[in-house]
């Protein structure tokens, strides 16, 4: 179970005229995600949904509030006062708060991440990418090849084991990222616009493949997207964000059972409601923009 309690992220910036300013990327977002759910974070570009996902995954610390995965806090909240800042700096003077351990390969939380531009390691072959991830999870050497092959077969990459990512197409690279994330059998997969960089046909095929892959598992998936149809087709819950500042506007539960049709009546109705909500926010956005 993932729990975000009043998570806020604030960035200090410097304007063009050298005056100091701040951006509130996420404002007081609270969310509870049950085990095994597929949740989409939906919103216009720059609404802070990616920042929110980073905080869920422990890639950046929240300015206020906290995120818990199975009751364990993901990252310490950033210091607010001067005194706290000094203490924080002293605590993390050598290793950054994001670091796992100096020499021991052990994840802090049982999660895997998938990014829009894949983030598979270009200096490792397809096979090596997966076995490396398994090695980091402490899978013994003798079992790595077998598990990697099993998952690469599932995504249809078993013919390209010795190839490097630069020799693969965008869709194949995303399949590799998917296989690598699933092979370590994580409790949670966080995806940041995973299908945004591929063409529409490939995207729809990847969506179907993803649904087949996770059908009989209880992996919790949190996906950031700006595609309403994608969110509706895949997820159990859609969380709609508004921009400036990024806030959770509404949460839609989708009860339509899988396999879904892309133009289901129930989905279309929620689609219209979400679109109206997003349009309302865009029309009233000018109030916040200076």
């Amino acid at each position: 179970m993932i729990e975000a309690r009043g998570v806020t992220k604030f960035f200090s910036v410097v304007n063009d005229d050298r005056t100091a300013d701040g951006i509130t990327a996420v404002l007081s977002a609270s969310l509870t995600i049950e085990r095994g759910k597929f949740v989409s974070l939906l919103g216009p570009s720059g609404c802070g949904k990616s920042t929110f996902l980073e905080m869920l995954g422990g890639l950046s610390a929240p300015t206020e509030g906290a995120v818990f995965i199975d009751g364990i806090q993901v990252l310490e909240t950033l210091p607010a006062t001067r005194k706290e800042t000094i203490k924080y700096r002293r605590k993390y003077w050598f290793l950054s708060p994001l670091a796992n351990h100096m020499f021991k390969n052990k994840p802090k939380h049982d999660i895997a991440m998938i990014f829009q531009d894949y983030a598979v390691f270009p200096w490792m072959t397809v096979m090596k990418n997966v076995t490396f991830a398994l090695k980091l999870r402490g899978v013994p050497r003798s079992e790595r090849q077998g598990i990697a092959l099993e998952y690469l077969k599932k995504v249809g990459l078993d013919h390209a084991l010795g190839k490097y990512p630069s020799q693969l197409s965008g869709g194949m690279r995303q399949r590799l990222a998917l296989a690598r994330a699933l092979a370590v059998k994580p409790k949670v997969i966080l995806m940041d616009e995973p299908f945004a960089a591929v063409d529409t046909l490939t995207r729809e095929r990847l969506q179907d493949e993803l649904l087949i892959l996770i059908k009989e598992s209880d992996i919790t998936i949190v996906m950031v997207t700006h595609d309403v149809k994608e969110a509706l087709y895949l997820s159990d819950e859609v969380v709609v964000f508004s921009a400036n500042p990024g806030q959770i506007r509404n949460t839609f539960t989708i009860d339509v059972p899988h396999p879904r049709r892309r133009h289901d009546d129930g989905l279309n109705e929620i689609h219209a409601r979400i679109e109206a909500l997003l349009k309302y926010d865009i029309n009233h956005e000018s109030e916040y923009v200076i």
């Binding site: 390969n105 991440m113 531009d117 490097y164």
Partner: protein, 279 residues
């Protein structure tokens, strides 16, 4: 089915692989030099170099090309120039090797960790602007005239470019590689050896190329100031005896050595960064 008769034994296969790689190397390296396009420029230049000094158009100082070549041959056969080249290269590789061994780990550490960076890097940023030849007097006082002083000077020349370029490349490592590796559970040491290093490898080899160029400069400086062997020494001696063909032949030797080393590094880069290639 290929019968066992036609399969090569392991040492033979290894030899074939080495020969093939050597073939690729020389094809790549000499291919640029002996391409038709460049020969159309090189040959007229050499002809001009031969003809102009012979008719005294360029004055009495510049020797014709053929004289330089025959002097080079004379140096090799009668004056043990090969020994000088060997000595120079031995010193050079010790200096550059030391620089690589110290600068790359240091660059990795400073690029990886802000705590280390803030404590160590400013020192080198203060020392680096001192031109390496300015270290000659103090080095001679410290080490005396001889090989240790030469090695140290070459080390100084090659060290800073390798350190700063490695540091910058490691620091610029894409955050998403780090994020996904950390999510899988990578320790910081694993990140250093398996992510940061490989992500920065191209820039590291580039920095070694810069270091080799700077090291050659310092090789010449070191040998001209102190030593009784080496290319720089031969050049210095020839200068004092006014043997201009010897000076020019030494210059050409240095040029060829530098060109060869850069080609070797280019080849190494191609081999190590095979994953960078297109489809």
């Amino acid at each position: 089915m290929i019968s066992d008769k036609y399969k090569l034994r392991k040492p033979q296969r290894f030899l074939f692989a080495v020969l093939r790689e050597l073939g690729f190397f020389f094809k790549g390296a000499l291919g640029n030099l002996f391409s038709l396009e460049f020969l159309m420029v090189l040959v007229p230049l050499l002809v001009l170099w031969e003809v102009l000094p012979r008719y005294g158009i360029t004055g009495p100082i510049i020797p014709p090309f053929s004289v330089v070549v025959s002097t080079f041959w004379h140096l090799l056969t009668n004056r043990g120039f090969l020994h000088d080249i060997g000595d120079s290269m031995y010193t050079f590789f010790r200096g550059v090797g030391l620089a690589v061994l110290v600068a790359i780990p240091l660059g990795l550490l400073t690029g990886w960790n802000e705590g280390i960076r803030k404590r160590i890097l400013p020192l080198f940023q203060l020392l680096a602007p001192i031109p390496a030849p300015a270290w000659v007097p103090i080095t001679i006082f410290l080490f005396g005239i001889g090989t240790p002083m030469q090695v140290f000077l070459i080390f100084l020349g090659a060290f800073y470019p390798i350190l700063f370029n490695t540091f910058q490349a490691v620091k610029d490592t894409d955050g998403r590689y780090l994020a996904s590796a950390r999510a899988f559970g990578a320790s910081e040491f694993t990140l250093l050896t398996r992510v940061y290093f490989w992500s920065a490898l191209g820039a590291i080899i580039m920095s070694v190329r810069t270091g080799v160029s700077a090291g050659l400069v310092m090789l010449l400086v070191a040998e001209m100031y102190g030593g009784n062997t080496g290319i720089g020494f031969v050049m210095n001696e020839a200068q004092s005896f006014f043997q201009i063909p010897v000076v020019v032949a030494s210059m050409m030797t240095l040029g060829i050595i530098g060109w060869f080393l850069i080609e070797v590094l280019k080849f190494l880069e191609l081999k190590l960064a095979v994953w960078k290639g297109g489809r």
